[in-house]
């Protein structure tokens, strides 16, 4: 999700200038293996990027944004902040009903900005509205009313008023108020407390998207930026053991900003699924029988992964400098039967290309977490082809000629050793 959000936020050329990457989450898959580095390689960022995993609280995303501001102010050309969250929730719980999985990416820079960072105010305090300890799967929450009265209703107005004081502004000058929470009426109640019109309160998207944890403030900010007019002020709150209040102001450039898929596009692309058993399976909420074909050893030899990381993480292929043929994977000898030159291939990025399905099937025999396993041969616009797994296939809609794009996904879980490996899958465009 972090990779997908980042690719939506950045064109390939922009990625060469990203000098810092902050990946914020409370559900990083690895506690010790830098998750932000996996993302940076998937984006083919320069090796010199300052990468950092942020976490520990629901405001990790907004705090990471503050770090990104500092990074840019101290000389980074641009800094990418990603909030990404996949929380597991108890069956039948309130959290199950309100949560969603999402990622949002914001690029902070100093040139041609869509919105200026104006100022921020933040407070820290150990108010434990909910928590999740290492080794435990699910959050534990305290009473909603207490969370609202002692938490949000006290901390947020404090931070906002201090911020407005610092910035020399009045509340009436705020055009968009972003306060994500699991309580539907909460942001309106806080706005009322602040004497801010309820029409300024940004929709929390609980019903259409679900609350996406650390990602949510960034997601709502991204959604707001899609429609903010030049000059409008956007106030973003991150809440968790304290409170971050960040103030942005849209520039004139926002009017002509290139259209991205964005939050709206992703919400439009929805594919409803009423298969609760599938939801439970994907969230490891049931002890599923995957059949004997799932028993095979899924060892990833780290030496082989490292040696091939450009191919695996970045989907880099090769382009023959002699005949121009693109090939995947990169190889010693050019695959073009008319060429066959040795050691002539330069790294060639393919991940951003649109491909076409050359052949495909839905395989009901091989093991898959979500059978049938769609896979086939994809040809890429600028050259090259590969046999790959397909994903996000709506049955009956895939055929030879269907345009596809590449997505960075989990390829396999190694339950025996506690590992997961990633690779790219083709999904209908």
């Amino acid at each position: 999700m972090a990779v997908a959000a980042s690719r939506d936020a950045t064109e390939a050329a922009m990625r060469d200038n990203i000098e810092a990457l902050f990946l914020a989450s409370t559900t990083h898959p690895f506690l010790d293996r830098q998750n932000s580095v996996i993302v940076s390689e998937a984006l083919n960022l320069p090796q010199t990027v300052r990468a950092m995993d942020a976490g520990g609280s629901q405001r990790a995303g907004t705090t990471a944004m503050l770090c990104a501001v500092d990074a840019v102010r101290s000389g980074c050309s641009s800094a990418l902040v990603i909030g990404s969250e996949h929380r597991r929730t108890r069956v039948g719980s309130r959290m199950e009903m309100l949560s969603g999985d999402a990622a949002a990416a914001i690029v902070m820079g100093s040139e041609q900005v869509l919105a200026n960072f104006v100022d921020a105010y933040y407070v820290s305090c150990d108010l434990v509205d909910h928590y999740r300890m290492d080794g435990f799967d699910f959050d534990y929450e305290w009473e909603e009313r207490w969370i609202r009265d002692e938490g949000y209703m006290k901390l947020v107005p404090l931070a906002v008023s201090k911020l407005l004081e610092k910035a020399g502004l009045s509340i009436s000058e705020i055009d968009h108020f972003i306060l994500p929470s699991l309580q539907q009426q909460l942001s309106t109640a806080v706005a009322k407390q602040l004497k801010l019109g309820s029409d300024k309160v940004v929709d929390g998207l609980i019903e259409r998207c679900g609350h996406s944890g650390v990602a949510h403030p960034l997601l709502l900010l991204a959604h707001t930026l899609e429609r903010a007019a030049p000059g409008e002020r956007i106030l973003v709150i991150g809440f968790g053991q304290g409170c971050d209040a960040l103030l942005f102001r849209a520039t004139d450039a926002i009017a002509g900003a290139p259209k991205k898929r964005g939050v709206s596009g992703w919400l439009e692309r929805r594919a409803p699924d009423s298969n609760y058993a599938r939801f439970q399976t994907f969230n490891a909420l049931v002890e599923r029988d995957y059949g004997k074909r799932a028993e095979g050893d899924k060892l990833t030899p780290m030496s082989a992964l490292f040696r091939n990381r450009k191919m695996v993480n970045s989907f880099l292929g090769g382009r023959c400098s002699k005949c121009g043929t693109v090939q995947f994977p990169k190889s010693v000898y050019c695959v073009n039967p008319e060429c066959g030159a040795a050691a002539t291939q330069a790294d060639h990025p393919i991940a951003d290309e649109t491909g076409t399905v050359r052949t495909w099937t839905a395989d009901h025999l091989t093991f898959d977490m979500n059978p049938p396993a769609y896979f086939g041969m994809v040809e890429f616009g600028a050259g090259g082809r590969a046999m790959v797994d397909f994903t996000d296939v709506v049955p009956e809609t895939l055929d030879v000629g269907t345009p596809v794009t590449l997505q960075f996904r989990i390829k396999q879980f190694d339950k025996q050793r506690g590992f997961r490996r990633y690779f790219w899958k083709a999904s209908p465009a």
Binding site: L299, S303, R307, S331, V332, Y333, C334, A342
Partner: protein, 398 residues
Amino acid sequence: MASGIKDKIVILGMGCSRFGERWDDEPAQLMSEAFEECIDDAGISKNDIEAAWFASAIDSVNVGPSALPLSMALRLPNIPVTRVENMCASGTEALRGAAYAVASGAVDIALALGCEKLKDTGYGGLPQRSRGVTNDLHYPNLSAPGSFAQLAAGYRAAHRIDKHDLKRAMAHVSVKSHANGAKNPKAHLRREITEEQAIGAPMIAEPIGLYDCCGVSDGASCAIVTRPEIARSLGKQNLVAIKALQVCVSNGTEVGHNSWDGSHLVTTQIAARRAYDEAGIKSPRQEISMTEVHDCFSITELVTMEDLGIAPQGRGVTDVLDGSFDAAGKVPCQIDGGLKCFGHPIGASGLRMVYELYLQLQHRAGPRQLADPVLGLSHNLGGFPFQNVAAIAIVGQL
């Protein structure tokens, strides 16, 4: 009446990659490294190769099954490519396939390439793997050093050899190989060791210590073979011909019948006899100039000297300690450093052995060059002393 392979096949070219912990290289890179040297030596183009044999033994942590890995890595021109596997004797099997294809007249020029990428295993030694469904039900929980340690026990008992003398002879074997390997830029291990270091090294499987074992490494080696007249027409000089190719496989007698005393390798003895007949050799100790034998463990090399009829039966220890198989000895063994210094990328080893013999016979072995080699013998052994595959190749001036 079959007449054998003697002088029907010559080596047109050979290549060998650097052996070692090639962390940053895919099998394809190892194969092309060996192949580019080989095709350059042969002076032909890839499209002249009409058939190929690919030796790779452990596909679970390696290149994957079938001959596709070789054909795809080198982009061979849709020729027949066959994958062969006979455990550690696979390399010689690849050569055998290529040689027989040319000798039969089916093709003019054939390639034999062995490659093994073992260093993705993730731990030292060979990967733990199944031995076969039924075998797994009753085989002991063995390792390779443990299996060859059985040979040490049997040999010592049969010839009533003092424990310390055997240990010293085993150490001498490794010291000698390291002295040779130190001169070989393609070897993995290139420093000399002392007898004290070898004897004092940690025990792996009684009496085999760390310095009695070859290591695990990555590598590839290959040969292109043809008939003598084709080689001559291409301008090849100092032709090296195959004099004999013999494979002998256990039939279960050693491990099942009380007639075998555990002191020698039945298959090596039989393969050697047949190889000498095929090559027309009457006294191996006098006529063989050099040997490259399967020194997976130093005890194996020691016993192999007897099994090849080069050392007298029961006299292997004395012969070794006398320096008969050192570089300056009567019949130098492992002049390139052997498995001991190269490590053992399984499919590649048999061809790496022939590579050195070929270089020696062509007088291209640099600082390792022996004065006047005439005949070289390679011995490639897969399996365990109590059940195995022995493959012998004899090469010499045409």
